[in-house]
């Protein structure tokens, strides 16, 4: 039994034990037990993933587990990379759950929620190790169902949660149906449900079928990844679900969409046509831009993080798309680079988004609100959360020395060198992609400055924010763990490069023997080099040196109230809020966002010229949703109304329908 098998069994066993203990034990210890069992389950999965990514292979066929097809599992470096990511996020989430779900009998601490959490984690681990179409689909559906139920945890408290559940259920099932059709079709044409059989038979699949399968896969996988325009579930589900679930979904689950696309496009279908990857890159670019613009103007902290997930997934898909295009154009150097950037960004996003959602969860738990306009001042009451959130924001804004910067640097390097004889498609697409990445990075910086600056600094803007208390130690420890992962990825990203190159080789993007040279402390790309460690050391040491030197020169710091222009003490109503901070950007993107504003002016009784009160209300709708889904829903509803006579409530009639359908299938079968 090798290390992968042992760790995976341990992970599975611990997760099941967690679920069982949630059933058996009472409210006082339930959350702690589940958390403390889920965390090592995640750690074990991470060990398995690391071993698999390092080249340990393992496979298992258990024909007795599922009727008809059986379960087939296998690991390769690609699944190892994602398993590592999922395991690490699960471990952090497990620790976080101890404090977050606490000893409460409701919400995240309720029994169903705690039973489902380890099961959700286990289903996440199942997907990347699945080695046949049925196994993958079963894992995928388990993941969808458990996450849906977890999203609905707090459905009693808010109608918005139910709304989120409906959106998520509808879109995730749409994706599942697309995947089901696509993958089963592929298995049927290629000659077998196992990935090995498909790989072997992929040459016999004609181009048109392969394209249709890829498109169906794109709907299913990109939808799960939260790419525009299949994203409307994401800001809802991420915002309304408990924060540890948001962290798992955003940091781990959406990455499986990326995994699926890589597995399907490169591994199973063998690369396909350039237009597939151009389409994918376009979807990525649109997701990145749309996601970050929406995030920039969001005032709900979790909605902001959710849209930022769309943005980051967009960047990852952009990298994957370019990897495919480069591979088709025969530029294997750039292809490997783009894929490495995408995979590294997936890991980085996992690390910092887990940290950020954990931080947001702490804030919501302490203040009871997600509205950044009503937060502020947390730096004094919740210093640890503030500092950790700020660190995550630094990474998410892709600023040096954060880990997000490293992967964006790699991505930009891959886009900057399309090569002298790249075709017109790449020559045009590459600069546009650079512009998209740059715009995304720029707006991202503004977004996270807003989150930290208006969410945590200055004075509190509500009573709950003023009386907030720091989260329990387990939550802080979880955030510290996620933060350490960010630091590790920021300082020694070079360690991941051999693995990423091997994955690229496995996916047939490049001849073996990677093209991104890396030592532990440097990333070397063609003629450019990045020394992440020196950047970190330079910034930290430089800042400390300047601060110490300046202090040595002069006298001690004083404190005094800020100048109030003689108008009495400054109040929290004079502060800049998240909405006001984002106002200039919103105005710049007015045409894209189309905000809805209401201004009600109440005049005083004495005179029309005296204003008693002004109410200003602004809502920034999701235009993609309004333009695409609203008409769709309306059309479906009217269709439903029209066929209502078919469903008159008679059981006999329904049974009759079933009989007719069954007969039709049989007749078709006989005729063929």
């Amino acid at each position: 039994m090798n290390v992968v098998a042992a760790s995976l069994s341990a992970a599975g066993g611990l997760a099941v034990a967690g679920a069982i203990s949630a059933v058996l034990f009472g409210r006082s210890v339930r959350a702690a037990l589940v958390g403390l069992l889920t965390a090592p389950a995640g750690a074990a999965a991470a060990v398995a993933g690391a071993a698999a990514a390092g080249g340990v292979s393992w496979s298992l066929a258990a024909p007795y587990l599922l009727p008809l097809t059986g379960v087939e599992l296998a690991v390769d470096p690609l699944s190892g990379w994602f398993l590592l990511l999922i395991g690490a996020v699960t471990a952090v989430t497990g620790v976080y759950t101890v404090g977050y779900a606490g000893r409460q009998g409701h919400g995240p601490g309720a029994r169903p929620s705690l039973v489902l959490l380890p099961l959700f984690a286990a289903s996440l681990m199942l997907v990347p190790v699945a080695a046949s179409v049925p196994t993958l689909l079963v894992g995928w559906e388990l993941m969808a169902v458990t996450s849906l139920l977890l999203v609905l945890t707090e459905h009693r408290h808010a109608p918005a949660v139910r709304d989120a559940g409906i959106w998520y259920a509808a879109l995730t099932q749409l994706g599942f149906v697309a995947l089901l059709i696509g993958l089963v079709w592929l298995a049927g044409t290629a000659g077998g449900p196992s990935f090995a059989a498909i790989r072997a038979g992929a040459r016999d699949v004609d181009a048109a079928t392969a394209s249709v399968v890829f498109l169906l896969g794109l709907i299913g996988f990109a939808g799960k990844a939260g790419a525009v325009p299949l994203h409307p579930w994401l800001p809802r589900a991420h915002a309304e679900s408990p924060s540890h679930v948001s962290a798992l979904m955003s940091a781990a689950m959406v990455k499986l969409g990326v995994y699926g696309l890589l597995r399907l496009g490169f591994d199973l279908l063998g690369g396909g046509a350039p237009w597939w990857w151009l389409l994918l890159a376009a979807v990525g670019a649109i997701s990145a831009l749309y996601g970050i613009t929406q995030a920039a103007v969001a005032r709900d902290i979790k909605r902001m993080l959710a849209f930022s997930t769309s943005e980051n997934v967009g960047l990852i898909l952009l990298g994957v798309g370019f990897a495919g295009m480069y591979a088709q154009a025969g530029n294997s150097t750039a292809a490997v680079l783009a894929l490495a950037a995408a995979l590294l960004h997936a890991a980085n996003h996992g690390a910092f988004k887990a940290l950020l959602f954990a931080g947001a969860g702490s804030v919501v738990r302490a203040t009871g609100t997600r509205d950044m306009d009503r937060l502020g001042g947390l730096v004094r009451t919740m210093p640890a959360t503030t500092v950790l959130f700020a660190g995550g924001a630094l990474a998410a804004a892709a600023l040096p020395p954060g880990n997000g910067f490293v992967s964006e640097w790699l991505l930009l390097q891959s886009l900057l060198h399309p090569g002298p004889d790249a075709g017109p498609m790449l020559t045009i697409a590459a600069p546009i992609a650079v512009a998209v990445v740059a715009a995304t990075a720029g707006i991202g910086v503004a977004t996270y400055v807003k989150a930290v600056g208006t969410g945590f600094l200055a004075r509190p803007r509500s009573d709950r924010a003023a009386t907030a208390r720091e989260s329990p130690p387990s939550m802080v420890v979880a955030m510290v763990l996620a933060g350490l992962a960010c630091v590790a990825l920021a300082v020694v990203p070079g360690l991941t490069i051999p693995v990423l190159s091997r994955i690229a080789g496995d996916l047939r993007l490049a001849p073996p023997g990677g093209t991104v040279a890396a030592s532990t402390f440097a990333l070397r790309v063609e003629a450019a080099t990045l020394w992440p460690l020196w950047t970190v050391v330079g910034i930290v040491a430089g800042t400390a040196a300047v601060a110490v030197a300046a202090r040595a020169l002069g006298r001690a710091r004083r404190r005094a109230p800020a100048w109030d222009c003689g108008g009495g003490p400054l109040t929290e109503r004079m502060e800049y809020t998240a909405t006001s901070f984002a106002e200039p950007l919103q105005r710049v993107f007015d045409n894209v966002l189309a905000p809805e504003r209401d201004v009600d002016v109440t005049h005083a009784d004495e005179s029309r010229y005296h204003v008693a009160a002004i109410r200003f209300h602004q809502r920034i709708p999701d235009r993609v949703e309004n333009r695409i889904y609203r008409p769709l829903v309306t059309a479906l509803r009217s269709l439903g109304e029209r066929v209502r006579p078919l469903a008159n409530g008679s059981v006999h009639r329904y049974l009759g329908y079933m009989l007719v359908a069954l007969l039709a299938v049989l007749v078709v079968g006989v005729l063929r």
Binding site: P424, T427, I428, P431, I432, N591
Partner: protein, 221 residues
């Protein structure tokens, strides 16, 4: 760019100048700024014509074409435009149909499109300068865009002139020299068009006190 001759460099710079001025014409709201921009563009076009003529086997005719182009684009048309502009002092594009920032982004997009569209042309053309044809095509597209989205009559004229400059540039670059008679005909057409538009503007200013083309809709109503 190792070993590029100075002629090649100057040629490239002139092409760059063509693009720069085209973007500049979209950028500036003051119609008064458009005339110098157009003059510079005419100068760049003339420079291209001269450089092509210098390398041309049948030099005499090509030089003549270059001289005609230079006279027209650098001297005559700016002069005419200035006369039009005197009628509508201090006119500004206050609210273009597409706002300036968006139209600049659109211009960038049009250039990319021109680049993609000109690929086959570049591939088949025999002259070594043909690789710069996307520049001419970009000018045509930007000119159309300018004319389509701006209100002022003078902007329309400038758009038209951009289109013409673009066509001339494409012709120069892609065909390795334009027959004199063709160029003369085009020039005559152009002068005529500018004159007609000048008269039109004058009448409009006289009737409406303004050079805003949207006023013309009143004639229709």
């Amino acid at each position: 760019m190792h070993g590029a001759t100075w002629v090649e460099q100057a040629f490239n710079l002139a092409c760059g100048l063509l693009l720069l001025t085209a973007v500049g014409a979209l950028w500036r709201r003051e119609t008064s700024a458009l005339i110098p921009i157009l003059t510079v563009q005419g100068g760049a076009l003339t420079a291209i014509a001269v450089m092509l003529a210098a390398g041309h086997p049948d030099g005499g005719q090509a030089v003549l074409v270059a001289v005609v182009v230079g006279l027209l684009k650098v001297v005559i048309i700016p002069l005419l435009l200035r006369r039009v502009h005197r009628l509508v002092r201090n006119a500004r594009e206050t609210r273009p149909l597409v706002n300036v920032a968006t139209s600049l982004l659109a211009a960038a997009g049009l250039c990319l499109l021109a680049y993609a569209a000109a690929r086959p042309l570049v591939a088949v053309a025999e002259s070594p300068t043909a690789r710069a044809t996307p520049v001419g095509l970009s000018l045509v597209l930007i000119g159309f865009f300018l004319a389509a989205t701006r209100h002022r009559a003078i902007s329309q004229i400038v758009g038209l002139l951009l289109i013409d400059n673009g066509i001339a540039a494409t012709a120069f670059l892609a065909t390795d020299g334009v027959p004199l008679i063709v160029e003369l005909g085009v020039c005559a057409d152009l002068v005529l068009a500018v004159l007609v538009l000048q008269v039109l503007t004058a009448r409009m200013v006289h009737t409406f006190g303004d050079g805003d083309l949207d006023d013309l809709r009143e004639l229709h109503d």
